[in-house]
Amino acid sequence: MDGSRAGGGSGGDYISSLLNSSPMLDFGVLGGAPALDGAGDCLDRFCGDPGFAERAARLSSFNGQRFASGLLGMPPPAPGAEFGGGSREASSVSDPGSAMKDANAKKRKAPAAKGKAKDPSVSTSGQAGEQSESDAKRCKAGDAEKKVTTAVKPKAEQTGSDSSVEDGEQKKGKGKNGKPVEPPKDYVHVRARRGQATDSHSLAERVRRERISQRMKFLQDLVPGCNKVIGKALMLDEIINYVQSLQRQVEFLSMKLATVNPLDFSNLPTLLHKDMFQACGPSASSVFSLESSSSAFPFSDQGDVFQSFVPNSMESQCTLNQLDLALSQTTNAQYGFQDGTASTNLQQQVRNYWEDDLQSVFHVDNGQSHDNGASAESFHGDLQAGQMKMEF
């Protein structure tokens, strides 16, 4: 089907759009949008690689469908039907990062937010629901570029409304704006400020530094807990820790999957697929209903549920951060699986372990979270009731 392809192509476009702040994208459709030189060129080049195509074809031969063409970056333009109205909701299939981004976008759109100038064109484009994250990023890119007071090739939506310099930094670069608009040009126009070195090396260096700092800002939004940290080295530390914890989680989950015995997926895939395609994103009302039978899923899924239910982004971000920490700790502890039989007491052990950890996490979180609304308490109550129904 089209989902993966559009996801793949538009995933790349997503990041490119974050960085390049290009105008309106339809996320669902394009894989090789001409406006994005980075993604477009990459895809062009990927099309030309026989090895990759062959490998991809080998992998996709299971499916026998259009993976190969998708991987070559040419999605047919009709995945719109799949992304029903619910999936457009940026907040429904959310994670703390994007929730943070939304909060940031709103904060930035407020006139007094950190003294950053409001960007009217971005706010108007922010009406579209699915653009909210990219708008947050565009706001940020706009803010990052506010250091540019003169621009050779200004993008109207950013520098047109530029009125104030964000901070007193000496850096001034033009790179990010100029490059995506003019793909074939390889150089950037940078104007040196008064009192700055004007040789080409330092100018290029400045552009490079500017780009790095812009990307560090984006990463700051992605990695939970990074916004309190200032400085490249510390942020890189956080990023490294986060990537490590994610990879360890993958290891742990694959180990957990390996303990399921018999590992037969003959019935699961079709049912899961039906479910995945029908589910239109978790809605707050239907997520929680108590079930009288044994607890359906371990409480580690609280993390996913939390992020969709809790309206406050800060809270969910704190929670998920601690949840990640807790999970990474449990990861190390659970490595001692030696027998392969999926005994129920093993699963019960796992569940109990996570339950204890998560209880402590939520206790801590309830104490620390500064915006502790009623939702957190209701969560805690639901936890203690012991039966949750998870929406897939």
């Binding site: 989902g3 993966s4 392809r5 996801g7 793949g8 192509g9 538009s10 990041i15 060129d41 990459c42 895809l43 080049r45 090895g51 490998r55 992998l59 996709s60 299971f62 499916n63 993976f67 992304f83 999936s87 940026a90 299939v93 994007s98 994250e133 090396h201 990307r215 984006f218 992605l222 490249k232 890189l236 530390d237 990023i239 490294i240 993958v250 989950l253 694959s254 180990m255 999957l257 390996a258 399921v260 018999p262 019935n267 699961l268 899961l272 697929h273 395609f277 589910a279 044994s294 359906a296 371990p298 580690s300 899924d301 996913d304 392969g340 999926a342 129920t344 129904k389 998870m390 897939f392």
Partner: protein
């Protein structure tokens, strides 16, 4: 990465993951081998579902594929990444202003060390300069998160199915169907 792209990626990832798991014979493997099979199929599925917008999927596929990867893929990756030639660091140092505090040099050294570590963790990072490395890391983090979420749900579903079928002895398919219907509604 949220909104329409997240769901699409997760669906594609799930599909590839389950298909690859179905295809490998896990019946007669040890636990470690099974785990390795699950992990590698998850990575391959993630890379396949990601598509061609980044460097790390190809590096991931190349490192996990059993057949020896073609020798040209690093060069192709370089081309695809549009890697600017990393500026000669010595030239930069010479051109910069001579006065530089030692604290600045320490900071630089720290950053450089961490960048090296990050390079090792992101697949395909060795070929990228630090600017593109950050972008790749961003992309990789986003998709890793989605992968973790999907894996978690799949493993929970599988465990629940296995547990309840073990206990009650019901037909597995009917059980799974009932479970998922309860979950969706």
């Amino acid at each position: 990465m949220r909104g329409p792209t997240a769901k699409a990626f997760k669906q594609g990832f799930l599909r590839s993951f389950l298909l690859s798991l179905k295809s490998c014979r896990t019946g007669d493997m040890s636990l470690q081998e099974r785990k390795r099979a699950v992990r590698s199929s998850a990575d391959a599925a993630m890379a396949t579902a990601r598509g061609g917008g980044a460097i790390w999927p190809r590096a991931l596929l190349a490192s996990s594929s059993s057949s020896p990867s073609s020798s040209s893929w690093p060069g192709l990756l370089l081309n695809a990444a549009k890697v600017k030639t990393t500026r000669c660091k010595s030239t930069a140092r010479r051109c910069c202003r001579p006065k530089r505090s030692s604290s600045e040099m320490i900071a630089r050294r720290l950053v450089r060390k961490r960048t090296k570590i990050l390079r090792g963790m992101v697949p395909g990072g060795e070929l990228l300069d630090s600017v593109s490395l950050l972008r790749e890391a961003m992309d990789y983090v986003v998709h890793l998160r989605a992968q973790v979420a999907v894996l978690r749900r799949v493993s929970n579903a599988m465990h629940h199915m296995a547990a309840t079928s073990y206990l009650t002895g019901l037909d597995l398919s009917r059980l799974a169907q009932g479970l998922l219907h309860r979950v969706c509604n």
